[in-house]
């Protein structure tokens, strides 16, 4: 055979069950790796013992038990929620924009959320003193959601055209919004106290270091709901791949699908960014890899991107906290170092369509 399957545009795809199984296996591996490595190493046997004790409700004051339950597990859970939310949100955005380069970080949704969170931290007590008391820790999440929501709408309006969104416009709008958010956070950092400055930096660089059970529960619930809601978007998003007018002719309520997609993304990205800061490129890479092995059907792309995103964030975070130990590399910095070359490769691949 002279022509390979790929060269004549043949599709060779793994079955949905295989893809989901592989995603779950990767996530499990990343979880075990993340749980055992760190400043205090926990062997697999010890890990098994701790998990069994925790399952049976036994509280054993062994150091590995304390380290795992109070430090590592919340961080791992936050990583799963963040990766899952970002991977799923990336897939939803790409489906809605009909564009494989839409990433919540790249097009500014994450920075919009981060800027809104930054404003709340530094100026919140002055701007809206009532909110924190009424909304509690939800204040940050709701503000970050609002920021992400506005940016998503803005990008959608700016980059839309008859034949879908214009890739170049979308990416340029993203540059502008990222620059604005950078300037805004810079301005805030001048006005901030030392303590506020540290949390601002945390926002810009992204980290799972702030994992506390209360935050984990909050993000976990929001991401879980957003992921569940996103699954109802799978069939409409498949139709939208044909173009919005063709989707409407197939009976899809395009406007409602858009509204839902934007709300789901803004909630997931807002909640994640409010607790972890900006973790870029997960929403770009996870759906891209899933589509390469499973094809573009959103019924599989959405859940598999969530699984792969979670595995990627856990693996990246494990590297981030061990590679320079005892110092910790900010997670957002690491995902950018991995994500940017991937993005450039994708740009090269799609260069004729930009």
């Amino acid at each position: 055979m002279s022509a390979t399957a790929a060269s004549i545009g043949m599709t060779r795809r793994l079955a949905p069950r295989t893809v989901l199984g592989a995603g779950a296996t990767l996530l499990l591996l990343a979880f075990v790796l993340g749980a055992s490595s760190g400043a205090y190493a926990i062997s697999t046997a010890q890990l098994w013992g701790v998990l069994r004790d925790a399952w049976q409700g036994v509280v054993e004051p062994s150091p590995e038990h304390l380290v795992f339950m109070n430090i590592r597990l919340p961080r791992l859970m936050l990583g799963i929620a963040a990766g899952c939310g970002l991977g799923m949100a990336g897939a939803v955005m790409q489906g809605l924009f009909r564009n494989p380069l839409a990433d919540p970080g790249l097009i500014g949704i994450s920075s919009g959320a981060a800027l809104a969170a930054g404003v709340t931290i530094v100026l919140g007590a002055w701007l809206w003193p009532v909110l924190p008391r009424t909304l509690g820790s939800w204040t940050l999440v709701s503000m970050a959601f609002g920021g992400g929501f506005l940016v998503t709408l803005l990008i959608y309006v700016l980059s839309r055209s008859e034949s879908g969104t214009r890739m170049a416009l979308m990416l340029l709008a993203g540059i502008a919004i990222n620059a604005l958010a950078g300037a805004g956070l810079g301005l805030l950092s001048v006005m901030a106290t030392d303590e506020q400055l540290r949390s601002l930096q945390f926002w810009l660089l992204g980290s799972l270091g702030g994992a506390r059970w209360s935050a984990v529960a909050l993000v976990g619930v929001v991401v879980l709901l957003a992921c569940a809601a996103s699954l109802t978007l799978a069939a409409p998003l498949n139709a939208i791949a044909l173009g919005e007018s063709q989707a409407a002719l197939l009976g899809v309520d395009v406007e409602r699908t858009k509204r839902r997609a934007i709300v789901v993304t803004a909630f997931a990205v807002g909640a994640v960014t409010a607790t972890t800061g900006i973790i870029g490129f997960i929403g770009l890479i996870a759906p891209h890899w899933v589509r390469m092995i499973a094809g573009p059907d959103h019924r599989i792309v959405l859940p598999a991107s969530g699984l792969l995103g979670a595995a990627l964030v856990l693996a990246a975070d494990t590297v981030a906290r061990t590679i320079l130990a005892p110092a910790e590399l900010p997670l957002g910095v690491l995902t950018a170092f991995i994500g940017v070359p991937m993005f450039l490769l994708m740009l090269r691949h799609y260069r004729h369509r930009i």
Binding site: I8, G9, M10, T11, R98, N99, P100, S163, G164, A235, N238, A239, I240, A241, L242, G243, S245, Q246, A248, L249, L250, G251, V252, D253, R291, G295, P296, D297
Partner: protein, 267 residues
Amino acid sequence: MSALECIDAGFQVGTKALLSGMTARLLPGRVYAILGPNGAGKSTLLSLLSGQRRPTHGEVRLDGLPLERHAPAALALRRAVMPQESSVAFDFNALEIVTLGRLPHRTAPEADEAGIVDSAMALTDVAALAPRILNTLSGGEKARVHLARAMAQLWHPRPGGDTRWLLLDEPTAALDVAHQHATMALVRQKAAQGVGVVAVLHDLNLALRYADEVIVLGQGRAMVQGPTAKVLSPALVSEVWRTPCELVAGRDGAPQYLFGGLQPSAT
């Protein structure tokens, strides 16, 4: 009786009328060809009939009810549109694209959904393209995949007896001559099953051979409409398209046009 009607329908963008004063009554079980020179408003008329655009004047009605009052989901069960060209996002393969034609039926699927998709693909001769990525196919192959999608969407008669409508925007433009005739024969066959077929065509000879009735547009207005053989006279054709032509009879008796180089027979 069920019908798709235009009542003084028009469509205007800004101050420019793309189509105006269109009145027509289309019946199921017949093949209609929309003809006319470039820019005459053919695609505009088709998009009004499909509900993709709402008329800015007048009305388009299906079964007596304005099109926009029909629920989009209910309409999708009985009306399919084959687009002129359609860019698809991501690497969907031909099989997946045709399967999307069954999307409106997902709440009440047939026993043999996969079989319907396979049969539709066999009808338009794209079964062998099933695993190929749509965006790597040629224009004619893509057109036949989209036709198969429309066929799959309208596969079975509606249980309530609602009439089905198949609207095609230049279905034969990218096809080789064998597939042009196969496609038109296929939609004729669909019409024989009671489906109303409306196709924008450029090839007058295809219209002569396969259309029951034609609607000839010129500069955004209906010039003339009626039974094909009666309406498409050499005088009309040479006037509307400004091309000399001659009507000849094929060996099977079907009238066909020869174009160009001749003196218009009307003068």
